[in-house]
């Protein structure tokens, strides 16, 4: 028996947008979220403001959730995971495991929106002492402080006078195996740099980078204002090591523009960590039986002209489950996934319909 329901796995921006898309097109949708509340990484990792428009992350997510819930046919399952998916396109039996136990529901298609996790900068290849020095933090740690409007050195609670961002941590690195660019870190770091400059006008902020990837409108939404209005200092050259020195942090690298090794003292070092497939993405790939690429992200079957179809008919993916993605990418691919799922179910050409 064919089903017109779509199951969306993951309740972050991608999942919410996909569910909203499906419901908006008139089909029933069940959105399954592992955590207690919807909102995904921007909420669970305490993002302050979204990139690139500086909108309050919580308000933006709440608005998306409200818009989704306003539509008919949206069934929300928080604190739940998908533990099995039998059958074929048009007639999947999806098992949802929650506090009340397992429940198997019928679905015609599934959209995977399980996203990414932040690279753990304590990895053995890094020499940034993330777990050794309290004042070495990651982008999301700073987000939490910005959300609180209180940026301090965790070691002593004082406001930093010199902060630097280190780009490409966990990205573009053959040793780690993450050979890809994580796309968002340049923009997020620059956004956070602006926020620090606004909050602490006396604090100098540096960004050490290999290439600034500020494509499209991000150039003058974030990059130029950071340089021109907020005087964030961009230095081409990556940091190789962070060390303790005289109660501060010594960062070591090459100023490649000047062609000389450099060593400078900082009060706070922010590691611009990249994206890796979340545990949920990796686990769901197994549960749904869909192909992953060598990095563990979900492999799109027919790129670049179809970015959301997976290796199993009737199952689609969107957002950072497919690879590094910013919010704009995520929302776009979520819409595309919703459209493809609904098209398939409406076409009557599912495997279930033709058997």
């Amino acid at each position: 028996m064919s089903s017109d329901r779509v199951v969306v796995v993951g309740g972050g921006p991608g999942g919410i947008e996909a569910a909203r898309g499906v419901a908006g097109l008139g089909l029933e949708v069940t959105i399954v979220e592992k955590l207690e509340r919807l909102g995904g990484t921007p909420i669970s990792e305490n993002y302050a403001a979204l990139t690139p428009n500086f909108e309050d992350a919580e308000a933006a997510m709440d608005r998306m959730i409200e818009a989704m819930l306003a539509l008919p046919g949206v069934d929300v399952r928080t604190s739940s995971t998908v533990s099995a998916c039998e059958g074929e396109s048009g007639d999947f039996k999806v098992t949802i495991s929650g506090a009340a136990g397992d429940e198997t529901i019928d679905a015609g298609a599934v959209i995977l929106a399980t996203g990414f996790q932040h690279f753990d900068p304590g990895r053995e290849t890094q020499m940034y002492g993330y777990y050794e020095h309290p004042d070495v933090i990651a982008l999301q740690d700073l987000e939490a402080m910005l959300k609180d409007h209180n940026v301090v050195r965790p070691s002593n609670g004082e406001a930093p006078k010199r902060v630097c961002f280190v780009q490409c941590v966990g990205s573009r690195d053959r040793h780690i195996g993450n050979e890809y660019c994580s796309k968002v870190c340049c923009g997020v770091a620059s956004k956070e740099a602006i926020e620090i400059r606004k909050l602490l006008p006396d604090c100098k902020v540096f960004i050490f980078y290999i290439d600034m990837r500020m494509y499209g409108y991000w150039e003058n939404q974030i990059y130029w204002p950071a340089q021109e209005e907020h005087h964030v200092q961009y230095v081409k050259g990556i940091i190789t090591e962070v060390l303790k020195k005289d109660g501060r942090l010594l960062v070591r690298g090459e100023d490649t523009t000047m062609g000389r090794p450099m060593e400078v003292l900082m009060d706070l070092v922010v590691l611009s960590v990249g994206m890796e497939p979340s545990r949920g993405t990796r686990e769901m790939a197994g549960v749904l039986g869909i192909q992953q690429n060598k990095y563990g992200f979900i492999e799109a079957a027919n790129p670049p002209l179809d970015t959301v179809t997976t290796s199993r008919e009737g199952i689609y993916a969107c957002g950072a489950a497919l690879g590094p993605a910013d919010l704009e990418d995520t929302i776009s691919s979520a819409g595309a996934a919703a459209m493809k799922a609904v098209s398939l179910l409406r076409s009557g050409k599912t495997a279930a319909a033709s058997s």
Binding site: E124, Y131, E132, P134, M145, V152
Partner: protein, 403 residues
């Protein structure tokens, strides 16, 4: 302090180090264990793999692979610079092994790895370097003892040679043919083991034999570049030492002996040896060793001694201080290998075993702090030299040093 900061500190405290995510790491070439290929080539008859003899200890390497380090049956692959200019280094390695009852072989059928020259002058090539390695490995194999590499450069270079031989069939063929002319098979040890890995593996056992208290001794550690930068995945790392982001070698031994390991900001820097520089451009070596290493240690950690685990590093850090001292620079840190340090902990004679009179930077305050009367010890050594001079004995023997 606000809640996000507390949460952050708590997160770090709870975790304190990274978790190896086996699933995420699976695609990474650096994590692949070379042994599968090593044994496959043996099955194809390309070479003989000399197995790590039992009993062995397993120690963790950078990406989590456990490496076998034999406890016994050592074929001592000696080091030019140690034997030539810091003979207390190799003597201490032998002495500690004798104390621990290790069955070993100190061969005369061993050449240098010749890598010091190769990195200094490039008057050699990949095939010659691999053949020299292969000849030494075959010599060890013939005795049934397992190679224990004394020099950091030999160790790093041999790891490189292994990688090259694994990668290039034509190189294996060339070296195999040369070996045939020498009447030897092409042999590759199952693991390439540095003596400092043996000390690391045996650190608790060594500590059990400790007779001198080192709890007042502060040390800095200089890890040898060729030990952990060449073929990095094969060096010892412990997630609990420096969060697994720096090699645990030497630090682990010093800590096991109760000494305090102090950090300094140029830990990752090389010593300044430079291979050719130490021989023909010593201004570079001297400046780098003193300005980037010794002075930084002195200023930031003020150690009683700096410990390292390689020939070139001991030489460079020790010998470079004299000229700097003449210019009133802030130097004056005794330098020795962790083998000598461990031997001293186990009660070795500072001159008859550790042969500290071959060292330059003043080690006497350190000996005093260790509770050693160096004047008396020196008199004992001089008495032995007198016996040698008078022809009463030909050589100082192992029996003499422990008398």
């Amino acid at each position: 302090m606000t809640i996000p900061v507390e949460a952050l500190l708590k997160k770090k405290e709870n975790k304190s180090r990274f978790d190896r995510d086996a699933e995420l790491a699976a695609g990474d070439a650096k994590r692949r264990d070379f042994h599968e290929e090593l044994f496959e080539l043996e099955e194809k008859g390309e070479w003989i793999v000399q197995r790590v003899p039992e009993p062995y200890v397993e120690v963790p390497t950078k990406y989590g692979r456990m490496k076998k380090v034999p406890k016994q049956m050592m074929w001592h692959h000696k080091s030019c610079g140690q034997c030539g200019h810091i003979p207390g280094y190799s003597t201490s390695i032998f002495w500690v092994q004798r104390k621990l009852g290790v069955d070993y072989n100190d061969p005369t059928d061993q050449t240098s790895c010749t890598a010091w020259n190769y990195y200094a002058s490039a008057t050699s090539n990949a095939a010659a370097q691999a053949a020299v390695a292969g000849r030494n490995f075959a010599a060890a194999y013939e005795t049934g003892y397992f190679p224990l590499i004394h020099c950091g450069t030999s160790y790093g270079h041999y790891k490189e040679v292994r990688e090259e031989l694994l990668l290039h069939g034509e190189l294996r063929k060339e070296v195999r043919e040369i070996m045939k002319t020498l009447g030897k098979p092409l042999v590759m040890p199952e693991e390439i083991v540095h003596y400092s890995e043996w000390f690391y593996a045996m650190k608790d056992e060594i500590a059990k034999h400790q007779v001198r208290d080192f709890s007042d001794i502060a040390v800095t550690v200089h890890p040898a570049c060729h030990y952990y930068k060449l073929v990095e995945q094969d060096a010892i790392y412990d997630p609990d030492v420096y969060g697994g982001q720096r090699t645990a070698i030497v630090s682990g031994v010093a800590t096991a002996l109760g000494a305090e390991v102090r950090d300094y900001s140029t830990w990752f820097d090389c010593c300044g040896f430079g291979f050719r520089h130490i021989l023909v451009q010593r201004d570079f070596t001297r400046s780098f060793a003193t300005q980037r290493k010794i002075e930084k240690m002195k200023e930031e950690a003020n150690p009683d001694v700096t410990l390292t685990h390689d020939t070139g590093c001991v030489t460079t850090l020790d010998k470079s201080q004299f000229a700097a001292q003449a210019h009133d620079r802030n130097v004056g840190v005794p330098v020795m290998s962790e083998a000598q340090f461990a031997a001293l902990a186990m009660g070795a004679h500072p001159y008859k075993v550790c042969q500290l009179h071959w060292h330059s930077a003043d080690y006497r305050p350190l000996l005093e702090k260790m509770g050693i009367d160096w004047r008396a010890a020196w008199a004992e050594f001089e008495a032995e030299v007198e016996r040698l001079e008078k022809g009463e004995i030909d050589f100082l023997t192992w029996a003499d040093v422990d008398a």
